[in-house]
């Protein structure tokens, strides 16, 4: 489909953010756009909501969540669920042979298992296989840390970041984890994480918005005459 530059008739203004421009999207827009894009890239509706949550959380904390999510979706789209999801057991989770885990599926599953023996526990480590774009794990780990009073470190060969909640450590973690595809280990100890403070809202580039929109458009249905006719009033509005 084409988007005329001044088609004022669509329920979304992000298509109008044009080449070379960037925009501060509201968190609602980020969550909505990223959810649709994730769905368009093949995630289930419930996981797509998790993707929207993660991107909006990152934006709230000053990190360009949509850009990281797009980088992941671009790589992962089309891969079957079995190639993206972890095998779960206490102390060690694994990626499918030769594959990297989807950080959204992994993050959501870590949350699901947070109260179970297989999940992250204070005073222990959880080895996890290779993860795509682990920066996208941060929102999920922050939720677990806050609800279970944990201080969580992400460790990989050549690096380590601590998620204590402070804005500067968050930015450091995001920077260090951006674009990585590495096996990671999560270690946790008891402690009260600081409440992560909101960061400066990052501008999202027109290129990333357009790319996410392209994925999001895959969730939509081309119009037919009958659907157009049924959508509005059957009587005149000039009365």
């Amino acid at each position: 489909m084409t988007i005329a530059p001044h088609d004022q008739t669509r329920g979304d203004s992000t298509p109008y953010i044009e080449d070379g421009l960037s925009a501060s999207l509201s968190r609602n827009e980020v969550a909505s756009l990223c959810m649709k894009a994730a769905r368009g890239a093949g995630m289930s509706w419930g996981l797509a909501e998790e993707a929207g949550f993660a991107a909006a959380w990152l934006v709230q904390h000053g990190i360009n969540g949509p850009s990281h999510l797009y980088a992941h979706l671009d790589q992962a789209q089309g891969r079957p669920w079995g190639d993206l999801c972890p095998t779960v057991s206490p102390g060690a989770w694994e990626a499918p042979a030769g594959r990297a885990l989807c950080p959204i599926a992994l993050g959501a599953t870590l949350c699901d298992y947070a109260e179970l023996p297989e999940g992250i526990k204070a005073g222990s480590s959880l080895e996890i296989g290779k993860v795509d774009h682990p920066v996208l794990l941060i929102p999920f780990l922050a939720v677990i840390a806050a609800s279970n009073d944990l201080l969580i470190d992400i460790v990989w060969t050549g690096g380590m970041v601590s998620l204590g909640g402070r804005s500067d450590t968050l930015m450091h973690a995001a920077h260090a984890l951006a674009g990585q595809q590495v096996p990671i280990t999560l270690t946790a100890r008891s402690g009260k994480p600081q409440v992560a403070t909101p960061g400066k809202v990052p501008k999202i580039s027109a290129e990333i918005i357009a790319a996410l929109n392209t994925l999001a458009m895959r969730t939509t249905v081309p119009s037919s005459e009958s659907s157009r006719a049924g959508a509005g009033s059957t009587t005149t509005d000039n009365d």
Binding site: G11, T109, T219, D237
Partner: protein, 558 residues
């Protein structure tokens, strides 16, 4: 509102209607606005807190083009409606989201706009979806004239005459909004950024404030055009006549998915209203002022039903039933024994036996009306922080999940989704306009891109999966094997503590009427004159009979 505010040990518990009685399309499609509706609670706050409203800017020319600013001050805060008036050719006027130009466009600015803000807004607000606003803006809206009434009123006022009250009663508004966007749309401030302000904590308060100020603008612009046309001969609109004008609204399918997508919010709206009814029914007696107040509210409802017109075959019989019901109710109330034990409950029980759903739901609204002291605090329980219910409890075992299904979703599990009529429709988003639409599965393409709005069917699919799983298994493991159930799993766990979270019907069946969903939501806004234009498109009126900004200080309240 949490479950604890609705706990089973409370004195009102025996008087509460169960969700299985309330949450059906045919009943929510008969919803009436109540004193808990969002525009009513906003007006009460404005009045109670003595908000000051003025219009510091009016720069509109002889063609009716320009801008105006309406300033609302409450405590330390100011909210300003910036209105842009346009000279719109008739052939461009459409209420659809497909419209590209409007008679007027608006934004609610957080604070007082500078000249630079106005310039920025002028470059964006008139473009609506094709523009961008910022976190300084709280809403984006547009409105079209009622061509007939607008011309009639301008014509009369310009000649020094008042317009015909019958013409005004027939239409009820000078302009109707075709969209009022909030909550971070198009770059506006997110709901979460303003939800902690007491004056905006209740749902849709910025949207209601926007529409209320638009109403003032619609009268100012006709008076302005009357002066342009008639010069010194022109008069202002009579204040009593003015009060009978509301703001029209046209709305379609775009609004329908909202109450499905926000189960916690829907629960809180419903539970507050139901608790209000239960509190009134639970009273052991009736005071004289309450009985007198009931009569006043009933007479107002009778008058409202008299002037409420619709041509639509779906609404005509409902209106006839409502008028019959109100007549019967009026006769009954005249001779009702308010000295009997539990007189309100007895009246309610009488209505359930005798009245149609329209009449019963109207009586709910009428019975709340004289009981502000008893129920108005419930308006503070109608917002929702949805974030806490987003996380799934993965440790819950399959057995417990199935118990929730049995307790809360038996209505869904009893639907046979193998018959064509029960899966006749599918909800989708149109590529062309990004608006929600409803397709016919048998004849239209696109069902593979169905939106997850038929909760009943998703629940049935989940139930089928669960039958194959070990009862002691945690749901985390089910989700690992079945990521397709994550969306509905979240809802089922929400329903456990939010009994009114679901519309308990099949939303893709052949006979489903989307306007029932619309009426439910619009009644919580406070909408009146529900007038369907098709089974999925409706016009309503907001703020009809309510005070104007210059009347709020005089203590006039609807």
């Amino acid at each position: 509102m949490s479950q604890s505010a609705h706990d089973a040990t409370s004195q009102t518990a025996p008087f509460r209607r169960p969700a299985s009685e309330v949450m059906h399309l045919d009943r929510i499609g008969c919803s009436h606005p109540t004193r808990l509706s969002f525009l009513r609670s906003m007006l009460r706050r404005l009045h109670r807190e003595n908000w000051k409203v003025d219009r510091p800017v009016w720069e509109v020319d002889a063609t009716g083009s320009g801008h105006a600013v309406y300033r609302t001050r409450c405590g330390d805060r100011t909210y300003s409606l910036v209105a842009f008036a346009h000279d719109l050719p008739e052939d461009m006027r459409s209420d659809r989201v497909i419209a590209t130009a409007w008679d007027a466009t608006f934004t609610l600015f957080d604070g007082e706009p500078t000249q630079a803000d106005i310039v920025r807004l002028r470059d964006n607000v008139p473009l609506q979806e094709a523009g961008r606003i910022t976190t300084r803006e709280l809403t984006l809206a547009r409105a079209n004239r009622s061509v007939r009434l607008f011309h009639h009123v301008v014509g009369a006022l310009s000649q020094g005459l008042q317009p015909d009250p019958a013409e005004i009663a027939d239409i009820g508004y000078l302009m109707r909004t075709t969209a009022v966007y909030g909550s971070g749309k198009f770059g506006a401030a997110d709901r979460s950024e303003i939800a902690d302000r007491p004056e905006l904590a209740a749902p849709f308060q910025v949207e209601m404030l926007t529409v209320w100020l638009i109403r003032a603008f619609t009268v100012d612009i006709v008076e302005h055009m009357a002066v342009v046309k008639g010069g010194d001969r022109a008069v202002r609109l009579d204040r009593d006549l003015r009060r009978t004008l509301g703001v029209g609204n046209s709305t379609g399918l775009g609004m329908a998915p909202f109450i499905v997508r926000h189960p916690v919010l829907l629960n809180n709206w419903m539970i507050a209203r139901e608790e209000a009814l239960a509190r009134v029914r639970a009273q052991s007696g009736a005071t004289q002022p309450a009985v007198a107040g009931l009569r006043v509210a009933l007479d107002a409802a009778i008058e409202n039903a008299r002037v409420w017109t619709s041509q639509h075959p779906l609404q005509v019989p409902k209106l006839a039933a409502l008028r019959d019901d109100l007549r019967m109710l009026s006769d009954t109330v005249d001779t009702w024994d308010f000295g009997q034990p539990l007189p309100w409950d007895a009246l309610w029980r009488w209505s359930v036996d005798v009245l149609s759903l329209e009449g019963q739901e109207a009586l709910l609204s009428i019975m709340l009306e004289p009981h502000g002291d008893l129920v108005d605090d419930l308006a503070d329980c109608m917002s929702a922080d949805e974030a806490p219910s987003f996380r799934i409890d993965g440790a819950m075992c399959v057995r417990d999940l199935r118990t929730i299904l049995k307790q809360n979703y038996s209505w869904a599990l009893s639907i046979d989704f193998t018959t064509p009529e029960n899966i006749a429709r599918f909800w989708y988003v149109s590529e062309e306009k990004l608006e929600p639409r409803l397709g016919e599965r048998a004849t239209e393409e696109g069902a593979t891109l169905e939106q997850p709005l038929c909760i009943a069917r998703l629940v049935a699919e989940l139930d089928e999966t669960l039958q194959e799983r070990d009862e002691d298994e945690p749901v985390a493991a089910v989700l690992l094997a079945h990521p397709e159930h994550r969306y509905v799993m979240r809802r089922v766990q929400i329903a456990q503590n939010h009994p009114f979270a679901e519309v308990q019907d099949n939303l893709i069946s052949a006979d489903m009427l989307p306007i029932d969903l619309l009426r439910c939501k619009l009644s919580f806004f406070g909408a009146t004159r529900f007038d369907p234009r098709s089974d999925r498109w409706v016009r309503i009126n907001l703020f009809q009979g309510a005070p104007f900004p210059d009347e709020i200080e005089q203590g006039y309240l609807p």
